[in-house]
């Protein structure tokens, strides 16, 4: 087995990406896009976009205070302070996992996608001509992922309309002299830490690519076992629930748990990938401390989820305050799970404060997304499932939309993407000067860059972070539950988690883009032979060696990594009972003795050498007919014109040899 971490990823929006070589198959885990890198681009300049004005009538909008300067950026040779003008004014490109391009996509056998975020880069590899890997995605992740990609494409179109199509294949900003001009913060994003990541930038795929990509995807149901090539068993299960039931099965190779989207209450499309190989190897790969959140949920009590709930309540109360003071609240849709909960909670808060403030959801896919979340009870947590059984909608937004408390706009715009694409940009421009308004922003390292185009801002900004992975202290208890044989752990977290020596598993640490060879744990494969086949065997005893051997013939069936030998339908013909593998060297005298018993007589002629200079010994047979037997150490040749005689001699030769 070989394991290569292609990218460690970066939080919720950019899950890690790995390549694993197991049982001769090349398996790619996730194919994400680093959307946070979008922040180096400038949003569409405000005054050239009239759509925002038309829409504004729909909202409780305060007069826009800040308008961006539009137009051509002035080039300056000295490094400028980081401000809105430093951003790149161009049609955005997208940053893929750079290291993935070093691999030949046509050699990938299996792609496992663990979350909608993990599939955003998928159209880039599915459009490669020789790409033929089987892609496994859960039903829910596939649907949501598809909507996100379609949304991305449609949001991008808006940008495109403004900038027009790029005339050359390499955009202006990617030229080295332009890159040199970038402020260092932006340069770091564009080129990566080592300055080698420029190759990862790609123009966005088209809607046709997305469609084509979705056609190639194999959708899995909850906890469905898929079997690749008879040997690799892949099972997708929610990362938040039912750990025990999956790991008790014992024979499974437990593998790489990606827990992704979602918050404490929502498990949909959070799942981990579980792999069983033919070899009954047991190993668990922990690849990132961020990936373990949902699994840990069931290990710990719900203090984490109550913490998350408090965060939500806090956001809601801030939102209410803002609304009461006449402001507006902008919540970019980041994580579907959090957004759905916020929708529910805010409307509850509004109701209890007796406020009649409309809630708008603006996205080209909002309607479908909201409808979809209501038809996937199988992927939700227990509490949500109970709603199904008692006949209520899974999420409150169904009723809220009916009661016209939530308005869904299938507008040309859609949610934010790091405040660069979509309607959030327009709304933010309008509201950023209003001190009563509120922007709810996920806590991101580069929030400064993200907000750059909107500065100065008098709008309040609430930054909050939600759990997007496992907490470090939960790693140990998790591993205790899983009982893996092998754990892979990121090198940079080596000092954060100390594995005691008493563990049943061995720990390897990995670096990004460095292949790790993993010792194979497999023994020889086990074969199961049907009893009806086993009962027909003719055993042969090799006395000197204290061995019993028998020839075995059947139909081999490899299923779910198990080998079974079934009896073949057409039964073995009589000739099969004769041995046809022989060894030993016959003494001509022994042979003569056996022959004479059969009434065949002859004499031995020794020491004949022929061209092959192999000591040969010839037995001449005269009676009952003329024949010749040429005996060597490694073979015997029988020559007789008489068919019957030949076969009798053959029997005699077999008799003096050992065989099976």
């Amino acid at each position: 087995m070989k394991f290569t971490c292609l990218s460690k990823g970066g939080g919720f929006h950019f899950p890690p990406c790995h390549m694993l070589n197991v049982c001769g198959f090349r398996v790619l885990f996730d194919c994400p896009l680093d959307l946070s890198a979008l922040t180096i681009f400038s949003p569409v300049p405000a005054d050239s976009c009239t759509i925002g004005d038309e829409e504004s009538s729909n909202f409780a909008v305060h007069e826009p205070v800040v308008d961006m300067e539009a137009g051509v950026r002035k080039k300056q040779k000295v490094e400028k302070p980081l401000d809105a003008n430093s951003l790149i004014y161009s049609e955005p490109w997208y940053k893929t996992v750079n290291n993935l391009h070093l691999w030949n996509a046509s050699f990938i056998d299996v792609v496992l996608i663990s979350s909608p975020m993990g599939m955003l880069g998928l159209p880039y590899i599915t459009r490669i001509k020789d790409f033929s890997a089987k892609i496994y995605v859960t039903d829910a992740a596939a649907r949501v992922g598809q909507l996100m990609m379609e949304d991305l494409v449609s949001m991008h179109m808006e940008h495109r309309q403004f900038y027009g199509t790029e005339e050359s294949s390499v955009p202006q900003w990617m030229k080295s002299e332009e890159l040199d001009l970038l402020p260092s913060a932006l340069k770091k994003v564009a080129l990566g830490k080592d300055g080698a990541e420029l190759g990862g930038w790609m123009p966005l795929y088209s809607a046709a690519h997305v469609k084509d990509c979705m056609m190639k995807v194999q959708r899995l149901r909850y906890a469905e076992e898929a079997c690749y090539n008879g040997t690799l068993v892949i099972k997708a299960c929610s990362s938040g629930l039912e750990i025990g039931s999956i790991f008790d099965s014992g024979h499974a190779m437990d593998f790489d748990y990606h827990a992704l989207q979602g918050s404490d209450l929502i498990l949909y499309s959070d799942f981990s990938t579980l792999l069983t190989s033919e070899d009954n190897e047991q190993s668990t790969f922990s690849d990132d401390n961020n990936n373990w959140e949902e699994l840990a949920k069931s290990l710990c009590n719900n203090d984490e989820s109550s913490e998350e709930r408090e965060k939500l309540s806090f956001i809601c109360s801030c939102a209410i305050d803002s609304v009461k003071s006449g402001g507006s609240v902008l919540i970019p849709i980041d994580r579907l799970g959090v957004s759905l909960l916020l929708l529910e909670q805010i409307s509850m808060f509004l109701k209890s404060s007796d406020l009649k403030v409309p809630i708008y959801v603006i996205s080209s896919v909002a309607e479908e997304l909201l409808a979809y979340t209501n038809i996937i009870p199988e992927w939700l947590c227990k509490q949500r499932q109970e709603k199904l059984f008692s006949g209520e909608s899974l999420f409150a937004h169904v009723e809220l939309i009916k009661e016209k408390k939530i308005h869904v706009f299938p507008a040309v715009h859609s949610p934010k993407l790091f405040l660069r694409l979509g309607p959030a940009v327009h709304l933010l421009r309008r509201w950023s000067g209003d001190p009563n308004s509120l922007l709810v922003l996920e806590d991101e390292a580069d929030a400064d860059i993200a907000l750059l185009p909107f500065k100065p801002m008098s709008m309040k900004v609430l930054q909050c972070s939600f759990l997007s992975g496992i907490k470090l202290q939960k790693v140990q208890p998790l591993l205790k539950t899983l009982q893996p044989k092998l754990v892979l752990f990121p090198e940079d977290l080596r000092n954060h988690v100390r594995f005691s020596n008493i563990n049943s598993f061995s720990v390897s640490h990995y670096f990004e883009n460095e292949t790790l060879h993993i010792p194979s744990l497999k023994g020889s494969p086990e074969l199961k032979i049907t009893t009806d086949l086993a009962s027909q065997l003719n055993w042969r005893n090799l006395e000197q060696r204290k061995l019993n051997i028998t020839r075995l013939k059947g139909e081999l069936l490899i299923e779910q990594g198990k080998h079974r030998l079934l009896s073949r339908n057409e039964q073995a013909s009589s000739s099969q009972n004769r041995p046809f593998l022989h060894w030993g060297s016959p003494h001509p005298e022994d042979l003569l003795a056996v022959l004479s018993k059969m009434g065949i007589n002859g004499h031995v002629e020794r020491g004949m050498r022929d061209a092959e200079s192999d000591e040969a010994c010839i037995v001449h047979v005269q009676d009952p007919n003329k024949a010749l037997i040429e005996v060597r150490a490694t073979g015997t040749v029988i020559s007789a014109a008489d068919e019957n005689l030949a076969s009798r001699i053959f029997e005699a030769v077999v008799d003096v040899l050992e065989g099976i």
């Binding site: 013939k553 015997t636 068919e643 053959f650």
Partner: protein, 649 residues
């Protein structure tokens, strides 16, 4: 060990489906239904047969319910709450959501309307459903260490599933009710090709082959349209779930297309409420319906509204869905009493009605009067339309499924005795699969597959996976074919990849039994392979060639040039090819190979394999040295006789 199958219900009948299967020591109850035709204790399966001491928790490992129909789930609350079973119960999400509605509806009909003593209460139903574990399709569920179950899509009704159960090496499938053709809102049954010891299948339509259902759907729509156009009222007695939604999709769609304004009513809030469930569970419907979730959920019926009791005697036309189906009581009976005497009205009946219900009486003949009880008689003057489409598979579907799964044994349940017997015969004779049709309380025992374990070497596994292509020429034309007189019988190449798992099982004292490849065995033994070959130097008569008249091939064949050699070989090749048309002959120029048979021109003056004495015409013969291995002895002798008797020119 064997698989034991105890039939507690639906044995040679339809109703109270319940089969208890013991498979490698694990005991599973499939379905726990009730019989609609009985009001006494016969309505439930005889649970005492499972455990004399009524210790059901230890007697059963789990219960699996295939779908929400009462004849599959009706006895469950009784079994869990009254009989006290507390073990796990599995059903799909829709079944778990919808079964309580069915049970509650039935309980109400029994208690409120028929005034019967209640077998279980609402609280019982709620308690019972709490014990249910919902599963998704294809989800592999490990019930315990040894028992694994999995649900497959069955069509029939929303959430209906076939269940696969596996213990150790033994596996089986219980189909429940299924439909092999998609209908208005559900897809067709879908299952993987599985290795099965036993298949238990329903056989409701064991003797029927149905054509397309669209014609019959049109008939139904026409009948309904005609009735409402003539100012009549249509009564559609159905159960709240399943058929009601299917017909509603049908009618709603028709109403849209025909722009009809006649109201469609649902009698109870029940069906409206059920639609709520259907909307959330839309991903369990057919692909076409499923896709409507985002735009207009197909279960958001546009023309459907709630019925009010006061509307029964309203003069205007309408369509009314009323529960229960089969008009066994309740609201559908109440409406039937009022509407039946008017010939303008129409009553539709489902394809199957249990004996003893009014539906059954209406189906048998054309009664003009029906005795409800000894005091009440109903005049029946309305039209009757029997729905002839059914959510069950027909005989062809059953045969298709059995053939597809190719289990070692088949047990038929949920059907009518004579038809089941016919189907059983067909399965045995056409498919060669053992088939049983046990009656209630009968027990069937079938052997299960068992395996012995052995280690296997990688070389063995690899050798088994190697493609083993066989090419054979065949000049066989389609003999039964009479329409292709003009066609010449062209030889065509048949390619088969018949992979053989062949190895040697080695049993050594104090060591694990191991399967190895034969080459590995020799290595293990430290021996060398000893090859036994046959050889024969065969004289072939050759007509003198004009140019080489004086220089006979033999004995001066050392002068034979390479081109001569190959021309002689070529001639032999042509000869052999014509004689052995089906054989696969390889021409290597210097020699010819046919399986292991190898022939080349012998240039030795004194070949040791030149055994034959009959060298009468030495001067006219060329010698061909042949060698072959034992496996091809027969073939070799045939070739030799051809060679000896031929005359190459």
């Amino acid at each position: 060990m064997a698989i034991e199958c105890l039939v507690l219900g639906a044995g040679q009948e339809i109703g109270k489906s319940c089969v208890v299967v013991t498979i490698n020591g694990k005991r599973i109850m499939f379905d726990c239904g009730m019989h609609m035709g009985y009001q006494d204790r016969r309505r439930y399966p005889d649970f005492s047969l499972i455990s004399k001491t009524r210790d059901f928790d230890n007697a059963l490992d789990c219960i699996i319910i295939t779908h929400f129909h009462l004849d599959h789930v009706g006895a469950l609350p009784y079994f869990t709450e009254v009989c006290g079973y507390r073990g796990p119960i599995y059903m799909t999400y829709p079944t778990k959501a919808l079964a309580p509605l069915m049970l509650e509806d039935y309980r109400k009909v029994m208690v409120d309307q028929r005034g019967e003593e209640e077998q279980f209460t609402s609280a019982h139903i709620a308690e019972c459903m709490k014990k249910v574990i919902a599963v998704d399709l294809k989800q592999s569920v490990q019930v315990d260490k040894d028992l694994q179950i999995r649900a497959y899509y069955a069509g029939h009704v929303l959430g209906a599933a076939m269940f696969y159960a596996k213990v150790g090496d033994s596996a089986m499938v219980y189909t429940g009710d299924y439909n092999m053709t998609p209908d208005r809102h559900l897809g067709a049954a879908q299952i993987d090709r599985l290795q099965l010891d036993l298949l238990i299948t329903e056989s409701t339509y064991a003797g029927t082959i149905r054509d397309s259902k669209y014609a019959r759907e049109r008939e139904f729509l026409k009948a309904v349209h005609k009735c409402v156009a003539g100012g009549g009222k249509v009564l559609i007695p159905t159960f709240a779930l399943g058929r009601a939604q299917e017909l509603c999709i049908l009618l709603d769609d028709y109403w849209e297309r025909m722009k009809l304004k006649v109201p469609i009513y649902f009698s109870a809030g029940l069906t409206i409420q059920a639609n709520m469930y259907y909307k959330m569970l839309i991903s369990w419907t057919s692909q076409k319906v499923k896709e409507t979730y985002a735009t207009h959920n197909a279960f958001d019926f546009k023309n459907v509204r709630n019925f009010d009791r006061s509307l029964i005697d309203a003069p205007s036309p309408c369509v009314l869905f009323a529960t229960p189906g089969m008009i066994s009581g309740g609201f559908s009976l109440e409406v039937f009493k009022r509407w039946a005497p008017d010939e303008m009205n129409l009553v539709t009946l489902p394809g199957y009605c249990v004996a003893g219900t009014i539906g059954h009486k209406l189906m048998s003949g054309k009664p003009t009067k029906i005795d409800l009880d000894k005091d009440t008689q109903i005049d029946v003057r309305c039209q009757i339309h029997q729905l002839s489409f059914s959510p069950h598979t027909d005989a062809k579907g059953i045969m298709d499924l059995v053939k597809f799964l190719s289990p070692k044994h088949v047990i038929l349940v949920h059907g009518e005795k004579p038809k089941m017997a016919t189907l059983k015969q067909r399965i045995q004779s056409e498919l060669g699969i053992q088939c049983y049709d046990p009656a209630n309380k009968d027990s069937v025992c079938v052997p299960s597959t068992h395996f012995v374990k052995a280690g296997a070497s990688n070389a063995f596994i690899r050798s088994c996976l190697n493609p083993n292509f066989k090419f054979s020429k065949s000049s066989l034309e389609d003999k039964s074919d009479s329409g292709s007189q003009g066609m010449k019988s062209m030889p065509w190449l048949q390619i088969s990849d018949d992979r053989v798992g062949e190895g040697i099982l080695v049993l050594e004292k104090n060591k694990k039994t191991k399967v190895v490849h034969q080459d590995e065995l020799l290595h293990m033994l430290g021996e060398q392979k000893h090859e036994i070959q046959f050889a024969y130097c065969c004289p072939v008569h050759i007509e003198k060639l004009e140019q080489t008249e004086t220089t006979d091939l033999i004995p001066t064949n050392d002068k034979l040039s390479a081109s001569d050699k190959s021309s002689v070989i070529k001639k032999l090749l042509v000869k052999l090819s014509s004689e052995l048309s089906e054989a696969n002959i390889h021409d290597f120029g210097e020699h010819i190979q046919l399986e292991s048979f190898h022939v080349s021109i012998c240039l030795k003056d004194n070949c040791p394999y030149r055994i034959t004495d009959s060298l009468q015409s030495k001067s006219e013969a060329a010698f061909f040295c042949c060698s072959w291995s034992e496996a091809d002895e027969k073939l070799a002798r045939r070739i030799i006789s051809i060679m000896e008797n031929c005359n190459l020119t």
